[in-house]
């Protein structure tokens, strides 16, 4: 446990006294190691440790808190502060429908999340339209149709092989025509370094003007998550992030990296394969998980 480890490395400091720069170095190394083991990006961890150091040097050691726990508390607070202190919901359009575009790498969980998000809106009394914007992957349209039928949500589709930009545009037009309050557009998985597919995504965005472009990121992602988030933020523009597959034992440090490099809030966390296994993002819970 990180608190215990820090206490051991601060064992010179038992009574009252300030944490000096010298005795904090080993504690900081321990924290940095823990963050890296949790998949936080190397540079993000480095910057983060600097912030913790500045807060900790000269920090009064509280009488009843061991210095190790004190530093852990600072780390925890800074993690929460970095990741956003409150749940950030989906932005709504002032004139229906609210358009949500889901993007991300292959296999990150977009299609599954599309259904989960649709279910969430449905439960709050707003009937969504799902748009099968992945016309490339074998049976992707079928996958979304099945998920839609399982929750009684309509899916707009033009089959595999159709032009994805056209499908997205027509799907949003359909949502407008039928007065859907929300339309969720799924897209194919793509690499941030695939110029052609990133251009396709920009065309899609221009065609449908989403209120929310959400980057769906696999919660088990490692160092590369920072680069992916950076690319999607710079080359497309995103409004928020969704972290998936956090029902496993991945520490989820990608959450910190993605937030740090994109500046965008993590809005939801997917915690299972079932359609109702979706949670609003809780920064404090994520902080505890990352610290292990």
């Amino acid at each position: 446990d990180l608190g215990e480890k820090l206490n051991r490395s601060f064992k010179g400091l038992l009574g009252r006294g300030k944490l000096s720069e010298k005795n904090i170095e080993s504690g900081l190394r321990e924290i940095r190691r823990s963050l890296l083991e949790a998949d936080v990006h190397y540079k993000v961890a480095k910057d983060f440790i600097q912030v913790v150091k500045e807060r900790s040097v000269g920090q009064e050691v509280l009488g009843n808190l061991r210095p190790g726990q004190q530093v852990v508390r600072i780390v925890h607070e800074e993690l929460v502060r970095l990741m956003g202190s409150a749940f950030t919901d989906i932005s709504r359009s002032r004139s229906a429908p609210t358009v949500i575009l889901l993007v991300g790498l292959q296999g990150s969980g977009k299609t599954t999340f599309a259904a989960k998000l649709a279910r969430r809106f449905q439960k709050s009394g707003q009937q969504p339209l799902l748009v099968a914007g992945d016309t490339a992957r074998p049976a992707a349209v079928e996958q979304l149709k099945i998920l839609g039928s399982e929750i009684d949500v309509r899916v707009f589709e033009k089959g595999s092989g159709a032009d994805p930009v056209e499908v997205a545009a027509e799907g949003v037009r359909e949502a407008r025509r039928l007065n859907f309050p929300v339309v969720i557009v799924d897209s194919r998985g793509r690499l941030h370094v695939d110029g052609e597919l990133m251009e396709e995504l920009r065309k899609t965005r221009d065609a449908i003007a989403p209120q929310e472009t959400l980057l769906v990121v696999d919660g088990m992602s490692g160092q590369d998550a920072a680069r992916v988030a950076r690319s999607f933020a710079d080359d497309l523009g995103i409004d928020g992030v969704v972290l998936t597959k956090l029902d496993g034992d991945a520490r989820g440090g990608a959450a910190l990296s993605v937030r740090a490099v994109s500046g965008k809030p993590i809005k939801f966390v997917s915690v299972g394969e079932k359609v109702d296994q979706l949670e609003p993002f809780h920064p404090d819970r994520m902080a505890s998980r990352i610290l292990g």
């Binding site: 292959q106 490339a136 996958q143 690499l191 992602s221 490692g222 160092q223 590369d224 496993g248």
Partner: protein, 274 residues
């Protein structure tokens, strides 16, 4: 000691950043750099070569494909967590073996995920091989058994069995996987001949946890690193090889049926250090 080896603190830190950012992991990076210090290389080129050699040493010599007793299908079971690339990798392997002149069959033993069998149906048609499937919700072990019986009856050379993605931490799902393996062996003793654990190149340290638990459950005979055409370096395979002795057999380099290559350790290490 650092001065004697020519690996000063600054150089060590620079290498540490490269390795960590390649997902090698903290502990493995420390072991590698400690060994490098002892190697006593002096100068940037010598250090780089020493590092390259030590990584190649970890990866070891690729092992031969197991020899299959003739007269029955070679059974390859694909396993791994959700969304890593199992189904697509299966299609690529099918195409590869078919191109080598073998008679290939696919088994859609993912009976859980929406449109999983349909996805494999599209691939079976594209590659031009038979597929055994049942309805959604069927017992995956039953599909596997069915497929192997059918493969045997038809003189198939290679049977590739797809399974549903599952997190290694889900006990009941791992038990289901063990059952699929047992049932194959029951149908034809000695099968599956290969169990390929598919890992996503973008996965971080969790890949080690995945490898540990999948190893415990179904004894993988090799790894496939999918999505290596992205920017992730999959450095975690070093720790997996060191701790669990698992080799990478193939790498996935794209979404097309031809985007699969045999693992090339030198190219992998060069990309990792670039």
């Amino acid at each position: 000691a650092a001065l004697a080896s020519g690996l000063d603190a600054e150089s060590r830190e620079a290498l540490e950043e490269i390795l960590i950012e390649a997902d090698v992991g903290v502990a493995a990076t420390q072991r590698i750099l400690d060994r490098l210090e002892k190697a006593d290389a002096v100068g940037e080129d010598a250090i780089h070569n020493a590092l390259r050699d030590s990584l190649l040493e970890v990866l070891g010599r690729a092992r031969e494909e197991p020899e299959i007793p003739g007269g029955r299908p070679r059974v390859i079971l694909l396993v791994g967590v959700n969304g890593v690339g199992k189904t697509t990798t299966l299609a690529k392997l099918a195409a590869r073996y078919k191109a080598e002149g073998m008679r290939v069959m696919m088994a859609a033993a993912d009976t859980f995920r929406a449109a999983a069998a349909e996805q494999l149906e599209v691939w079976a048609e594209r590659v031009g091989v038979d597929l055994v499937r049942q309805r959604s919700g069927a017992d995956p072990a039953a599909v596997a058994y069915d497929a192997l019986e059918s493969a045997r009856a038809r003189g198939v050379d290679v049977l590739l069995v797809d399974t549903a993605g599952r997190l290694h931490t889900k006990h009941n799902l791992m038990e289901e996987l063990k059952k699929i393996r047992r049932v194959l062996d029951k149908c034809e003793p000695g099968t599956p001949d290969e169990v390929l654990l598919i890992l996503d190149a973008t996965t971080g340290q969790n890949a080690l946890s995945q490898a540990r638990l999948f190893k415990e459950a179904v004894e993988p005979t090799g790894l496939v690193i999918a999505k290596l055409d992205g920017t992730a370096k999959a450095g975690i395979v070093l720790a997996i090889r060191e701790e669990l002795g698992l080799d990478v057999r193939f790498v996935g380099l794209g979404e097309g049926v031809g985007d699969l290559e045999r693992f090339a350790p030198e190219a992998f290490v060069d990309a990792l250090l670039s």
